[in-house]
């Protein structure tokens, strides 16, 4: 039994597609059997919601009178990158607000930054734009200060170099002092542990060998119709995998883009990580077409079949030793407690299963209503790609 993208899209357009979430499909296949379910189900929706630091957006402000070629600019005091055309800027999610004391008074609070500006933009809030320039013959204006919101911009295009990490480290702290990380506050002597994955709902864990998710795949990006525009940065598919081909560590990533004017503020949330910095939590949904029984079998992956590797963020992560303390399934992690070296450790998540489930259902409803068609990738993500380290070399002679 096989299907094509075109056949699935025809069923979606006619409102007859059978769509299940990555959670529902597990029981469904258990009851109906793989072959029968493969005949019946057209699409399975996957999703994730969590902090994704490698996110940002291109904004176009339109031209003032007289015109200005902006060289330095701030949105609500958060610096934006101006090394592109006259009134285009790029705002990164982890950018700190000008004069933020960062970790000078350790641990810093990082209450507002790039991720929060992006949240406020999507929420339609009024923000302050301040820009400077050296002035040219064709762009004479040298300073601008104005209030604006997302509707005043010509374009607001979210462009994220790395989202949807296939799997992720599980963090613990074996030292005697608290460490502050992008995986939250880790208490000393392994008093807590943090993971960050939607597990059985997560897009790339349901398509471990990138058979349907590739460059050109249509995605649900915080409610907007988005796109995978490239392999994500640090895409590293050549890693240890289980018998089900599911990676035990980070592995694949996606570069995503989408129109911020179509996004829903519930799924675009600035994050303040104490002692670490600012980030952006984002909701992403990816539909998986059930082209054949093999693809269906992979989307029935459960939390108990997906393993995360525990890394010590007090030493092994910062010093890049590569040491893994233990591996646990997401079922064990989600239980809220695991045993590590004879010690019971409380576990919590940075990724929201609740929001991921909500996104799976929202995307399911859009596909069922015929509003979201699937797209066949134009390029497959690399399958056996490693990741290079940065070697520190001497000054050039």
């Amino acid at each position: 039994m096989t299907r094509t993208y075109q056949e699935i899209n025809e069923k979606i357009a006619s409102g007859k597609a059978v769509v299940l979430t990555a959670e529902e499909i597990i029981d469904y296949v258990d009851k109906r059997g793989l072959e029968q379910a493969a005949k019946e189900v057209d699409v399975v929706t996957t999703a994730t919601f969590g902090p994704m630091c490698s996110s940002g957006c291109f904004l176009n402000f339109g031209h003032s009178t007289p015109k200005m070629r902006i060289t330095e600019a701030w949105i609500s005091d958060v610096p934006v990158y101006c090394g592109i055309a006259a009134v285009d800027v790029y705002l990164g999610a982890t950018e700190l607000r000008h004069n933020d004391s960062a970790n000078m008074y350790y641990p810093g609070e990082f209450r507002y930054g790039g991720g929060h500006v992006i949240e406020d933009l999507v929420a339609g809030k009024k923000l302050q734009f301040f820009g400077l320039s050296y002035g040219t013959d064709d762009y004479p204006r040298r300073e601008i200060r104005t209030m604006f919101d997302i509707h005043d911009l010509n374009q607001a295009i979210m462009t994220n170099p790395r989202n949807c990490y296939q799997n992720y480290n599980v963090a613990v702290n074996t030292s005697d002092k608290t460490v502050y990380t992008y995986l939250g506050i880790l208490k000393p002597r392994m008093r807590n542990m943090t993971y960050c994955s939607a597990g059985q709902l997560s897009p790339l864990l349901n398509d471990p060998l990138y058979e349907t998710i590739g460059v050109g795949t249509s995605v649900w990006l915080a409610g907007a119709r988005g796109l995978v525009y490239a392999q994500g940065t640090q895409h590293c598919s050549d890693v240890e995998r289980g018998d089900n081909d599911v990676p035990m560590e980070g592995a694949g990533t996606l570069a995503l883009t989408g129109n911020m004017k179509e996004m829903h503020p519930e799924f675009v949330r600035g994050a303040s990580l104490k002692g670490y910095g600012v980030s952006l939590a984002l909701g992403v949904g990816v539909p998986i077409p059930i082209l054949n029984p093999d693809i269906l079998r992979r989307v029935t992956v459960r939390d108990r079949d997906i393993y995360g590797s525990v890394i010590d963020y007090s030493v092994d992560y910062p010093q890049k030793t590569g040491k893994v303390l233990a591996k646990y399934s997401y079922e064990e992690l989600r239980s809220g407690q695991v045993e590590l070296n004879g010690q019971k450790v409380a576990v919590s998540s940075m990724s929201s299963y609740n929001k991921a489930l909500k996104i799976c259902n929202l995307l399911k409803a859009e596909i069922e209503a015929g509003d979201f068609l699937l797209s066949q990738p134009s390029q497959r993500l690399p399958l056996n790609q490693g990741m290079q380290s940065l070697e520190i070399k001497g000054p050039a002679k």
């Binding site: 969590g50 600035g270 980030s279 939590a281 409380a346 919590s348 940075m350 990724s351 929201s352 299963y353």
Partner: protein, 136 residues
């Protein structure tokens, strides 16, 4: 015997009076102070749990009303904004009393039970989305 959570606001005029001491002495109440910020010449806040007979608590409220103290019944010292919560559950391991917990394990929906909160404020430090905030 009943137990009530109360959050009191003391304007500058009342910060030097030994009000809590009188609550214990005159109304036979057991007082458990969660958090206090009362300094002379400044306004102050006091978050506490009062245990005693219904009648005594009633009388204590009347006594408090003779001052300029503002009484907030319930857990007003710590606010959890359900609208802003993303339900990641990262706060759960930082909450020592289980006030923050999953109401539904299948959908992993976080909820906050005011009665269990002791206002340690660790959730404020931890939450990346600023969902928890303190009244003082």
């Amino acid at each position: 015997m009943i137990t009530k959570k109360v959050y009191l606001y003391f304007p500058k005029s009342e910060t030097e009076k030994p009000i809590v001491c009188e609550l214990i002495r005159n109304f036979d109440l057991t007082i458990n102070i969660f958090r206090a910020k009362v300094t002379p010449e400044e306004e102050g806040y006091l978050s506490l749990e009062i245990t005693g007979s219904e009648e005594h608590i009633e009388q204590a409220y009347e006594f408090l009303n003779t001052f300029d103290v503002v009484i907030h019944a319930g857990n007003k010292g710590l606010h959890w904004d359900s609208e802003r919560c993303t339900h990641c559950g990262n706060c759960l391991v930082h909450c020592p009393t289980g006030a923050l917990h999953f109401t539904d394990r299948s959908t992993r929906t976080v909820n906050f039970t005011e009665d269990k909160c002791i206002e340690c404020l660790s959730c404020i430090t931890n939450c990346p989305f600023g969902v928890c905030s303190s009244a003082f």
